[in-house]
């Protein structure tokens, strides 16, 4: 078993670390403090990162990207997230959909969408499933006709006409292309009646509405999407009509990548918390003695590092599995674990900063706020139940 990184992986790690330290870290807190959620976003950092390859990193070399493997992806996401979790997520959101394009888009679609994505530093993807009446119901459909997404898609000649809205959509206010789940058959449950379509930003009848003002992940844009007789050509479909939620074996992208993404990103937050805490306890003095010499502080630092390294091992193992095309419950388990771990680590970090007479450190406060996002994305009940049910449905007990 070899835990060493190869030269290419080390090079990407170094590149990501440098970009994170020199470009992201200096602007992260200031962005987080901006009150307006749309203004919290900044194109300059995205363009800089794009020029270094972070936006297009997973598109294959043949198609014009960098073709980095999953282990490298995990490492890069962690390094960027250490400086700012939301900014790291903005880049990796592009990878999520690069995987899907590679897997299921046809040549025409790649020509129309993949090519401009590769050359335009401001081309990011969005994805729309959640609606006001359905978040959990889309992720774990109860199986009845009423539950789940309702955005209507009606085929009209060579087009599909969309009516309805989506909520909380990632990159909703800034993406140039959206992958949208549409209810093309409302007479059957969503698992049988959903189609995945690509909706360019400039589609007539399509616009973004409210930008959501979140307590954490403030740089990351989540918005309402509004469809009013929005018309897209049938050549924008991904896969079959009504085939979007049918499970495809071996397919990477969507949920599977997403589990690793949230684990690796969260790990970056842990690294940031450990760094901040260790720096503080070496510098701050209480009663004439550095904090690091106190037992309770030592116990906390020890626990923070222990949890962080355990999460790192799991994240790397999941990444390795993806590279081996092994599909297991580990991705989901790691993501669930990340929720608990990153909150405990960040909160221990905050405890270390406790000091009467001083305001709480803004940086550690941001880390803690960012970690709570995982509670509705990665470690809420439904995300845990899905993984547990997957475990329970395994035909045989697996030894690894």
């Amino acid at each position: 078993m070899d835990f060493l990184l190869n030269q290419e992986q080390l090079a990407w790690q170094e590149k990501a670390r440098k970009f994170a330290r020199e470009e992201i870290a200096p602007m992260s807190l200031e962005r987080d403090a901006i009150l307006d959620p749309f203004d919290a976003f900044d194109w300059e950092i995205i363009k800089k990162g794009s020029k270094l390859g972070f936006r297009t990193a997973v598109v294959s070399k043949e198609e014009g990207g960098h073709g980095i493997d999953f282990v490298t992806q995990a490492i890069v996401m962690t390094e960027l997230a250490k400086a700012d979790s939301a900014i790291s997520k903005t880049f990796s959101q592009c990878w999520k959909w690069s995987h899907l394009i590679a897997a299921v888009c046809n040549e025409d679609q790649k020509e129309r969408f993949l090519k401009p994505f590769l050359t335009d530093d401001t081309f990011v993807f969005g994805f729309g499933a959640t609606e006001p009446n359905g978040g959990s119901d889309n992720r774990m459909p109860p199986g009845d006709v009423k539950s789940g997404l309702r955005l209507a898609g009606v085929i009209d000649g060579d087009d599909m006409v969309l009516n309805g809205d989506k909520a909380f959509i990632a990159n909703g206010s800034i993406a140039k292309l959206f992958f949208i789940y549409v209810r093309t058959d409302p007479t059957v449950p969503i698992a049988q009646g959903t189609t995945l379509v690509m909706v360019p930003r400039d589609t007539p009848g399509f616009r973004h509405g409210k930008v959501f003002n979140k307590s954490g992940w403030r740089f990351y844009q989540n918005a309402e999407l509004i469809f009013e007789d929005a018309r897209i050509p049938m050549t924008n479909l991904v896969g079959e009509v009504n085939g979007a939620l049918r499970r495809r074996e071996g397919e990477v992208g969507g949920d599977i990548f997403g589990d690793l993404e949230l684990t690796a990103n969260g790990l970056g937050i842990c690294d940031a918390a450990c760094d901040k805490a260790i720096t503080l306890v070496r510098e701050r003095v209480q009663g004439g003695v550095p904090l690091k010499d106190q037992q309770l502080i030592q116990l906390k630092i020890g626990r923070m590092k222990m949890l962080t390294e355990a999460l790192r091992s799991y994240a790397m193992r999941v990444a390795w599995e993806h590279d081996q095309e092994i599909h297991s419950t580990h991705a989901g388990l790691a993501m669930n674990l990340a929720t608990d771990t990153i909150q405990e680590v960040a909160e221990l970090g905050m405890e270390i900063f406790d000091r009467a007479g001083l305001p709480m450190d803004r940086g550690i406060d941001k880390l803690v706020r960012d970690t709570f996002i995982w509670s509705h994305l990665a470690g809420d009940t439904v995300q845990r139940l899905k993984v547990a049910r997957r475990e329970l449905s395994q035909a045989q007990f697996q030894l690894i």
Partner: protein, 402 residues
């Protein structure tokens, strides 16, 4: 006889405040602009309305014109107000507690006569305890079972001039109620020890600057107070015992009320989550009907009620100093125990309640993220639970600290 029933008076006051909160406070406090961590102005009109109900002078003796409420009753009121708006609860609880202790006990007759009329009659007469300073080392930390002699104490000085007046110099930081206080009780170094000096806010040489919300890391009203050759009468010093009563290492003053405010915030989160879970349909039924959510709500309630027990025991102990339950000797440090219980359990409770709301649990135009943030502020205000545990250890192992 162990009796958990509240008195008629306690129930009446609780219901009165609850009605006030439901009608007048809640509709204002849940507006999106009040849910941001920055720039939330104190709703002074609500503080005034609550003052009209007698909540500003709650603990002041009935003889002097207050309601004569004990600590437990003050906790009940604080919880009800906080379930509506944490800031008004904090301002009123601070003034009420200080008003009780200063006027009922610590002031001598001459001091009381000088200040009581204004305190009772001016609806905007608030009080503040100016104790902490930026460099002060209040944490026990390395001095646990030791005395390194390295800890930085009070730096604000008070020296008597030739007229016997006290001349004060120094800066107090992050003082609760400073921007609204008309009278300060100031912890000073007199040269021969510590003392508490009464200083009216309009005394020359006293300047208050309101602390920026800086991401919302305080509740209520908060300011820095600077003293530059600030001079007050020689009769303004409180007697011996005031320092220990208001601010010493074993001091419980105001703790149960503060904890009750945190409990109120947790309760508001629980009530919101329970209501929402009873209407939100996912997975084919109201989400309360799913085991995972039902169990989660139950855990929140368990945490709230455990907290309430701990706080109310601490409050009762404060009101009954000779009545340590179960005959413990030395008496248990109940307010410190409830400090830890409250801070940890309410934080857990607000997070669990917010999770029931999905993505809405993190949206700044909804109250859940604010409840989480406030409970985080309580968890990390002061020197933290870790330090409190050291104090508890010293207290129960009989370590005495001069």
């Amino acid at each position: 006889m162990y009796d958990l029933r509240l008195s008629e008076d306690q129930l009446a006051i609780r219901d009165m405040v609850r009605d006030f909160v439901a009608k007048d406070v809640f509709p204002v406090s849940t507006m999106p602009d009040r849910l941001e961590p920055f720039d939330v102005p104190l709703a002074m009109d609500l503080v005034d309305a609550a003052a009209e109900l007698g909540l500003r002078t709650l603990a002041l003796s009935e003889d002097a014109g207050g309601a004569g409420a004990d600590t437990l009753t003050c906790c009940i009121v604080a919880e009800e107000l906080a379930a509506g708006d944490v800031d008004i609860a904090s301002v009123l609880a601070t003034t009420a507690a200080l008003g009780g202790l200063l006027f009922n006990q610590l002031m001598n007759e001459e001091q009381r006569d000088r200040f009581i009329t204004a305190f009772v009659e001016d609806a905007r007469y608030h009080l503040a305890l100016a104790d902490r300073e930026a460099d002060m080392d209040t944490a026990l930390g390395v001095d646990y079972y030791r005395d390194t002699g390295n800890r930085i104490g009070v730096a604000t000085t008070a020296r008597q001039n030739d007229n016997g007046e006290w001349v004060v110099n120094g800066i107090k930081t992050r003082i609760a109620n400073a921007p609204v206080a008309k009278l300060f009780a100031v912890l000073v170094d007199t040269g021969s020890g510590s003392g508490i000096l009464l200083i009216p806010s309009d005394t020359a040489g006293l300047t208050v600057s309101e602390v920026e919300r800086d991401g919302g890391w305080y509740v209520g009203s908060c300011g820095d107070v600077a003293f530059k050759d600030c001079t007050v009468s020689g009769d303004n010093m409180l007697g011996a015992g005031a320092v220990d009563a208001l601010s010493g290492p074993g001091c419980d003053f105001g703790l149960p009320q503060n904890q009750a405010i945190n409990l109120g915030v947790g309760r508001a989160a629980f009530e919101a989550a329970t209501e929402y879970s009873g209407v939100r349909i996912q997975g084919g039924r109201r989400i309360v009907e799913h085991q995972a959510i039902g169990a989660k709500l139950a855990e929140v309630l368990v945490n709230l009620e455990t907290t309430r027990s701990a706080i109310w025991q601490a409050a009762w102990a404060a009101d009954n100093p000779d009545g340590e339950p179960a005959g413990n000797f030395p008496p248990l440090p109940r307010a410190m125990i409830s400090q830890i219980v409250t801070a940890e359990k309410i934080y857990r409770a607000t997070k669990d309640a917010a999770e029931c709301f999905g993505a809405m649990g993190v949206m700044r135009d909804m109250p859940l993220q604010k409840y989480i943030h406030i409970s985080r502020v309580f968890l990390h205000t002061g020197d933290g639970n870790a330090d409190t545990k050291l104090r508890i250890a010293e207290a129960v192992a009989g370590h005495s600290r001069s």
